[in-house]
């Protein structure tokens, strides 16, 4: 997925007018702590100053540039919250005088044993900030397509990168990438050691965009609907595959966009299955899944055959380092399988 985002950013700086890809350690020699921005011609290193990063992105967008700003881990985005609020309200507050075409990307979530300050999620907080569009892919192809859409948007877009999936290989190729992964790696991954003379050899990438606001049914089923995004999405797919062998056929929806989100996709699925489980790993109190759950109750109550459920992260101050602590703090495969099994068995 890291390569997919990198290729989307390359495509965006070549074809979509992206002028600045910046943040701490984003430019050479490192190219991002997850290698997402290696070899990009407009990538540069910024001071270690998150408020500066967001503020400068806003200023660049005001002056007709198209910035993609990175906050190295979403755990460090919190001191920019009023600037994020302002980026989100600028168009509204000025009654349309200004708009800010800018992208903020930041790795989110658990899965790398990142302990207290490299494991948090941001989807619950991001969806509390109106005026932004918020996307979160779970596959490399969607990461590519959503980043392309983000870089075409006339409004601020928050691109949440599930860090546990950044090293995942996609089942569907990025249009234009070589089929052999070693060939691709040789072309666009920076070498170890001295990189001062290295230049990437970009594949001839094709335009491909995933529209913001469109979910995807990734597995069809009729027993219940499972709605997720980011790290937990592939776990939901695995759980559904396991349970299918036991005769429980869950439908799995990858939301992909958190705002605006594809209510029609959720509605159509829940009307078919009568049961729904929302899964994400942000802390469960005032969680985005709670909003989806509320809307399900309000709009689809009489179509429901069981109480809708939310499986989310525990409401605790952090995610601890030790294996057992992380595993107990955020939903894992077993938790999801169990939640699906329980909901599927619920009787009206």
């Amino acid at each position: 997925m890291a390569q997919a985002i990198r290729m989307a950013l390359h495509y965006a700086e070549e074809h979509l007018g992206v002028t600045d890809i910046f943040g701490e350690d984003v430019g050479p020699p490192l190219g991002g702590v997850f290698t997402v921005t290696q070899g990009l011609k407009t990538a540069w290193n910024s001071p270690l100053d998150e408020r500066g990063i967001i503020g400068v992105a806003m200023g660049l967008a005001m002056a007709g540039q198209r910035p993609v700003a990175e906050i190295q881990f979403c755990d460090y985005i919190y001191n920019t919250i009023d600037l994020l609020k302002m980026a989100g309200n600028t168009c509204w507050t000025t009654d349309g005088d200004w708009n800010l075409p800018m992208v903020v990307k930041t790795p989110v979530g658990s899965g790398i044993r990142g302990s207290v300050y490299h494991s948090h999620s941001f989807d619950a907080t991001a969806t509390h900030i109106p005026g932004w569009k918020i996307v979160m892919p779970s596959t490399p192809l969607d990461a590519y397509g959503l980043m392309v859409s983000a870089c075409q948007d006339e409004n601020p877009v928050m691109f949440l990168e599930p860090k546990a999936l950044l090293r995942v290989k996609g089942e569907e190729p990025i249009p234009g990438e070589p089929t052999d992964e070693r060939t691709l790696s040789k072309m666009i991954d920076a070498p170890l050691g001295d990189r001062s003379k290295w230049k990437p050899e970009w594949p001839a990438l094709q335009p491909y965009a995933v529209p913001i606001g469109k979910a995807k049914v990734v597995r069809e089923g009729d027993a219940l609907s499972v709605v997720s995004y980011g790290r937990t999405l592939p776990l939901c797919v695995r759980a559904a595959a396991e349970l299918a062998e036991a005769g429980i056929h869950a439908e799995v929806i990858d939301l992909r966009s958190l705002w605006p989100y594809d209510w029609e996709a959720i509605r159509a699925s829940v009307e078919k299955t009568g049961k729904v489980l929302f899964v994400n790993e942000d802390t469960e109190v005032t969680n985005f899944g709670e909003h989806l759950l509320r809307r399900t109750v309000e709009d689809l109550f009489y179509q429901l055959e069981a109480a809708p459920r939310l499986l989310a992260g525990k409401f605790i101050p952090g995610i601890g380092l030790a294996d057992a602590l992380e595993l107990a703090s955020v939903p894992q495969l077993g938790d999801i399988t169990e939640a699906i099994r329980t909901l599927a068995a619920a009787q009206p």
């Binding site: 100053d49 503020g55 400068v56 992105a57 302002m86 507050t93 000025t94």
Partner: protein, 342 residues
């Protein structure tokens, strides 16, 4: 002025020689007219607040000697070839000097649907005008300092002589955003064409600057970043014009940052939250400018009175017009959450 703190060290100020008016007569007359216009506008806004024709007032009476020359020296237009202003909520004088008419400010005060800056959504003094590179003025103080380097960066890239100007008050320089501005404007090899201005009125609402910040001069903070700096008596219109002219010329030609601190008055307190009543004991920049103009034979007392009468009448009529204009409808809350197609 013991209320400002007894031991407040004063920075050394750039002060124009009183005897030699280095600006030509036409400019002085124009500056005077705009300063009075800005003051009359602010006093009318305060009146509207007190009469119940607005919920809140905040503005810049007392800063006209500085805010007007600032507007006169800006290169007005849209895009990186022109100057960007990231102002704060005491900036009416600058907007009027750029050629803005007072009607919009009155409409924003009355939060009418016709308010050109926010459609009735935002407080008085919260200007925006993309067509002139006026970035939206917001209530959180000092955030503009961390946004401004972005437009300056685009201008450095663009070439030409357009610059970015950012202004804020002294109290807010305690925020990290001011330090961010200094850092981002002076990255080695990436110095930005940005004029960093602090209008220093020695107050943060009710808190005296002398009780919170140690440095003798805020401008001096720029020195640690290798920036040119100056402090000016912002109550002196001629000195302000000259100091700004010098700073503009440096930033335009050198494409490097400059910190300018202007010592100004706050004639009606922080905002309507503190009553918006005239504060005795502060220097009134218009009174002292008029004294100078009269003494030098630039304008007679009668001519200056006429200027004030003219604006009082015209702005009063505009205020009456605005009073009966419709307010925004409830359905308008959904407008422009995202950019809408024209």
């Amino acid at each position: 002025m013991s209320e400002r703190g007894p031991n407040r060290p004063r920075p050394q100020l750039v002060r124009a020689e009183a005897g030699a008016l280095s600006l030509d007569r036409e400019l002085l007359v124009r500056m005077h007219a705009l300063m009075v216009k800005a003051r009359v506008l602010e006093e009318r806004l305060i009146q509207m607040y007190k009469a119940g024709h607005g919920y809140f007032w905040i503005g810049g009476p007392g800063e006209e000697a500085f805010s007007v020359p600032l507007g006169l020296l800006m290169k007005k237009g849209q895009g990186p070839a022109f100057d960007y202003l990231h102002g704060h909520y005491r900036q009416a004088g600058t907007l009027l000097a750029l050629g803005e008419e007072p009607l919009g400010a009155l409409r924003q005060m009355k939060n009418t649907a016709s308010d050109p800056y926010s459609g009735g959504r935002n407080f008085a003094g919260h200007f925006t005008k993309r067509a002139w590179n006026i970035a939206p003025i917001t209530s959180p103080i000092e955030v503009q300092y961390v946004i401004a380097p972005g437009t300056a960066m685009a201008q450095k890239r663009f070439g030409g002589d357009g610059i970015t100007i950012v202004t804020g008050g002294d109290a807010g320089t305690a925020e990290g955003d001011f330090a961010s501005c200094l850092v981002w404007s002076s990255r080695p090899g990436n110095e930005l064409p940005i004029l960093i201005i602090v209008t220093h009125n020695q107050w943060g609402i009710s808190t005296a600057a002398s009780t919170q910040q140690g440095p003798k001069s805020i401008a001096d903070r720029g020195k640690a970043f290798g920036m040119r700096t100056a402090s000016v008596d912002g109550n002196d219109a001629v000195s302000s014009y000259l100091a700004l002219q010098d700073a503009f010329a440096y930033v335009r030609s050198e494409r490097k940052p400059f910190v300018l601190e202007a010592m100004v008055s706050r004639l009606y307190g922080h905002s309507s939250a503190s009553g918006a009543n005239f504060v005795p004991g502060e220097v009134d920049c218009i009174a002292s400018f008029e004294e100078l103009l009269e003494k030098k034979g630039i304008l007679s007392r009668a001519a200056m009175d006429q200027v004030r009468e003219r604006w009082t009448k015209e702005i009063g009529e505009l205020a009456r017009q605005v009073r009966d204009e419709p307010l925004p409808g409830p359905e308008s809350i959904w407008r422009n959450v995202y950019k809408e197609k024209p």
